[in-house]
C-alpha cells in the first residue's frame, strides 16, 4: 500500500495541507499541520515567478527566496520531514524551471532519496511531458496532474494518462487563494472526474474555512487548503505553529466527519 492509498481511505475524506518551504520555521510548521490532523502534506518549492498563485503564496515564495532558500534546502526539509513522519504522504509542488534546472532525472532521484511520494508541477501540461513524468515514474514517484473547470471531456484522458497518486481538481479558473467555487460546480466536476478515473479526487483553490472544507469533503476524496495556512505563517511568525495547529484541527474535524 502506498502512503497515498492509506491517506485516501474509502470512509472519509483526506485533508491536504500546503505551505511554502523556507517560509517561516518550516519544520515546526509542518509538524503542526500533522499534529492538527493533516493527511497529506504539499510542500511548495519557492519560485521567483509563481504565475498561477495569488498574493498570499506569491509573497510566501518571495519571503522564502529572500531568506536564501535553495533547492537543496527544500530537499533537506523534505528529507527531515520523512524521517520524523514515516507514514504521512509528502508532495512537492511547484513550477517547472526549478524542477528541471539540473535535469528531470536529477530532481526525481533527489526527491526519491528524500522520501517524496508525489510531485505537482503547475506549468508542465501533458503535452510537454516527455521528461519529468517519466523520470518521476522511473523512481516510483507519482506525478499528480491538475484538472480544471476548463479541462473538457475531450482533453481529460490526456490529463489523466500518466497521472498518479490523486487528481488535484482546481475548482476555480483562476489563481490560488482568491474566489471560491460554487458547491454545485464542484459536485458536478468531481462526479465527472470520478467517472473517468479510479484515482482519488482532491479539490483545492479558494478553500479557506472548515465550513467550505466540510462541504467539499462530502463529495470529494480530499480537500486542499493552502493560502489560508500560508497567511498564518505570514502573520504569526514564531507563533505560527500553534495557530496552524488550531486551524488544521478545525479543518480536519470538518473534513473527516463530513460523511
Amino acid at each position: 500500500m502506498s502512503r497515498f492509498s492509506n491517506a485516501f481511505s474509502q470512509t472519509r475524506a483526506a485533508l491536504v495541507c500546503f505551505i511554502t518551504a523556507g517560509d517561516g520555521d518550516t519544520a515546526a510548521n509542518l509538524d503542526a499541520l500533522v499534529a492538527g490532523g493533516a493527511d497529506v502534506i504539499e510542500l511548495g518549492m519557492p519560485f521567483t515567478d509563481p504565475m498561477a498563485d495569488g498574493p498570499a503564496i506569491q509573497q510566501a515564495n518571495l519571503r522564502s527566496l529572500g531568506k536564501g532558500t535553495t533547492t537543496r534546502d527544500v530537499l533537506l526539509i523534505a528529507n527531515e520531514f520523512r524521517a520524523r513522519h514515516p507514514n504521512v504522504p509528502l508532495v512537492l509542488m511547484g513550477y517547472a524551471n526549478p524542477m528541471i534546472a539540473r535535469g528531470a532525472e536529477w530532481f526525481a532521484a533527489e526527491a526519491k532519496g528524500c522520501g517524496v511520494d508525489g510531485v505537482i508541477c503547475v506549468d508542465i501540461p501533458p503535452e510537454e511531458d516527455p521528461d519529468l513524468g517519466p523520470a518521476l515514474r522511473a523512481q516510483g514517484i507519482d506525478l499528480i496532474r491538475l484538472a480544471t473547470p476548463t479541462t473538457d471531456q475531450a482533453r481529460l484522458p490526456a490529463v489523466l494518462n500518466g497521472s498518479g497518486g490523486f487528481v488535484y481538481y482546481v475548482s476555480v479558473a483562476g489563481i490560488t487563494g482568491k474566489q471560491q467555487a460554487a458547491q454545485a460546480s464542484i459536485e458536478d466536476a468531481v462526479a465527472r472526474l470520478k467517472a473517468a478515473t479510479d484515482l482519488p479526487i482532491a479539490v483545492g483553490f479558494g478553500v479557506r474555512t472548515p465550513e467550505q472544507a466540510g462541504a467539499i469533503a462530502k463529495v470529494a476524496d480530499g480537500v486542499v487548503v493552502g493560502s489560508a495556512l500560508v497567511d498564518i505563517v505570514a502573520e504569526h511568525g514564531t507563533k505560527a505553529p500553534e495557530k496552524l495547529r488550531e486551524l488544521t484541527s478545525e479543518l480536519a474535524q470538518a473534513v473527516h466527519n463530513a460523511r
Partner: protein, 404 residues
C-alpha cells in the same frame, strides 16, 4: 509532394517546438484556450479575408510600407559597408509593435473575445495595444510594472488617453517580467471572454509563431524594397533582440537566403561580466518561463534573475524561442552591446542622420562601428530601426547627466 530540404522557415512543428525550444508550458486552466487560439489562428491564416483586412489596416492605418532608407552620412562616417535602415520607427505609434497588435486584435475579434489585456515594459506595446483597442472599441487593460509606470510616465498617460486602464504591478522587481506574470494571472481567471495580446515573439505556442508571422511584414517589405532599389539582397541584417519580435520579423523572410548573414544584438547592460545585463543567449541557459522553453537568465536552482538594460524594452530575462533555436543551429549570430555603446550610437544617429532612434534600436545601430568596416563598400548592412526614441529622451538625458 513538395519537399523543402534545408529550410529554416518551417518551424515550429505542430506542437509549437522550434527544435527543443518553445512549446506550451502553461497551467492546465490555460491549455484549452491555447489550443483554441492555435485552431483560430490556423483558420485565419488560411482565410484570404483575414489577410486582406490585415493588409488594408497595415497600409491605411499603420502607414506601410515603411521606407527603406540609405543612411549616407553614417555610411561615410563609419567606412566599409553601405548602411540601410528599415524605418519601422515611422509606423503609427512609432514602432514595429503595432504590426503585431493589428494582427492579434483581428484574431481576438474573430474568436468573439470582448476584452483585451496586455503586458508592457517601456510602454510601447501597451500604447500599441491601447491604440488598436480604441480603433476597434474593445476595453483594454494593460499590466505594467510599478517601476516602469514611474519611469515611463508619458507612455502611461498615452495609454490612458487612448482609453486603456493601466494596472501597476508591484510584485518582484515590478518590471516587465512581473507585468507578464500578472497578465497571465488575470488571463487565467478570465479565459472565457479575454484575449491576451502578447507583445513579443515569446510565450506559449502559438504566440511565437503568430507574432513572427505578423512581424514578418518587415522582412518581406525590406527584401522587395532592397531588390528593387539595388538589385541585390543584403549581406548582413542587424536587429536588436529583447523578446525578439522586430528581429524575427526582419530575419525570417531571409532565413533561406544562404548569403545573407544575420546578427541579433542583445542588451549587455553594464557588461556580461558585471552580471547586470539582459543578454539571455550570451549570459543565460535554457529553461522554462512564461509558457515556453528558451534561454533564460537564471541561477543554478532555476530561479529567474533580474535583467538590466538602459532600454526598458530589452529589460527581460528571456528571449523568443525561435531565436534560441536559430542561435543553437548557428543560422543567426548574437552579440552583446552595452548601455554605454547604445547611448553612443543613439547620439551618433541623431547627429548624422537626423533620426532619433529608440534605445532598443540604438543597440542594433551600436554594432555598426565594429561591423561596417569588415565589409566592402559594395556590400549592404540592413538595420531595423524598430522604434523612434522620443520616449527615451528623459532616460538619455539622465544617463548623460543633463538637467531637463
Amino acid at each position: 509532394m513538395e519537399t523543402k530540404p534545408n529550410t529554416f522557415r518551417n518551424q515550429p512543428d505542430d506542437r509549437g517546438h522550434f527544435g527543443q525550444f518553445g512549446g506550451r508550458y502553461v497551467a492546465e486552466t490555460l491549455m484549452p484556450l491555447i489550443l483554441d487560439l492555435e485552431q483560430a489562428y490556423k483558420t485565419a491564416k488560411a482565410d484570404p479575408a483575414f489577410k486582406a483586412e490585415f493588409d488594408d489596416l497595415m497600409e491605411h492605418y499603420v502607414g506601410r510600407p515603411s521606407p527603406l532608407y540609405f543612411a549616407e552620412r553614417l555610411t561615410e562616417a563609419l567606412g566599409g559597408a553601405q548602411i540601410w535602415f528599415k524605418r519601422e520607427e515611422l509606423n503609427h505609434t512609432g514602432a514595429h509593435k503595432i504590426n503585431n497588435c493589428i494582427g492579434q486584435i483581428l484574431l481576438a475579434i474573430r474568436m468573439g473575445k470582448t476584452k483585451i489585456i496586455a503586458e508592457t515594459g517601456a510602454g510601447q506595446h501597451g500604447v500599441a495595444t491601447a491604440t488598436v483597442c480604441a480603433r476597434f472599441g474593445l476595453p483594454c487593460t494593460i499590466f505594467m510594472g510599478a517601476t516602469d509606470v514611474e519611469r515611463q510616465k508619458p507612455n502611461v498617460f498615452r495609454m490612458k488617453l487612448l482609453g486603456a486602464e493601466v494596472i501597476p504591478v508591484t510584485s518582484g522587481a515590478a518590471t516587465l517580467k512581473d507585468a507578464m506574470n500578472e497578465a497571465l494571472r488575470h488571463w487565467v481567471a478570465n479565459v472565457e471572454d479575454t484575449f491576451y495580446i502578447i507583445g513579443t515573439a515569446a510565450g506559449p505556442h502559438p504566440y511565437p509563431e503568430l507574432v513572427r508571422d505578423f512581424q514578418s511584414v518587415i522582412g518581406k517589405e525590406a527584401r522587395a524594397q532592397l531588390l528593387s532599389r539595388t538589385g541585390k539582397l543584403p549581406d548582413l541584417l542587424l536587429a536588436a533582440v529583447g523578446g525578439g519580435s522586430n528581429a524575427i520579423g526582419l530575419f525570417h523572410p531571409f532565413l533561406d537566403d544562404p548569403d545573407v548573414e544575420m546578427i541579433g544584438v542583445e542588451a549587455a547592460g553594464h557588461g556580461i561580466e558585471s552580471g547586470q545585463h539582459a543578454a539571455s543567449l550570451s549570459g543565460g541557459v535554457p529553461g522554462v518561463l512564461h509558457g515556453n522553453k528558451t534561454y533564460l537568465l537564471q541561477d543554478d536552482d532555476g530561479q529567474i534573475t533580474e535583467a538590466h538594460s538602459i532600454s526598458a524594452g530589452l529589460d527581460y530575462p528571456g528571449i523568443g524561442p525561435e531565436h534560441s533555436w536559430l542561435h543553437e543551429i548557428g543560422r543567426v549570430k548574437y552579440m552583446p552591446i552595452t548601455d554605454d555603446e547604445a547611448l553612443e550610437a543613439f547620439q551618433l544617429t541623431c547627429r548624422l542622420e537626423g533620426i532619433i532612434p529608440a534605445l532598443e534600436s540604438a543597440h542594433a545601430l551600436a554594432a555598426l562601428p565594429q561591423l561596417a568596416k569588415q565589409y566592402r563598400d559594395d556590400q549592404i548592412i540592413l538595420v531595423n530601426v524598430s522604434g523612434r526614441g522620443d520616449k527615451d529622451i528623459f532616460t538619455v538625458a539622465d544617463a548623460l547627466g543633463v538637467e531637463m
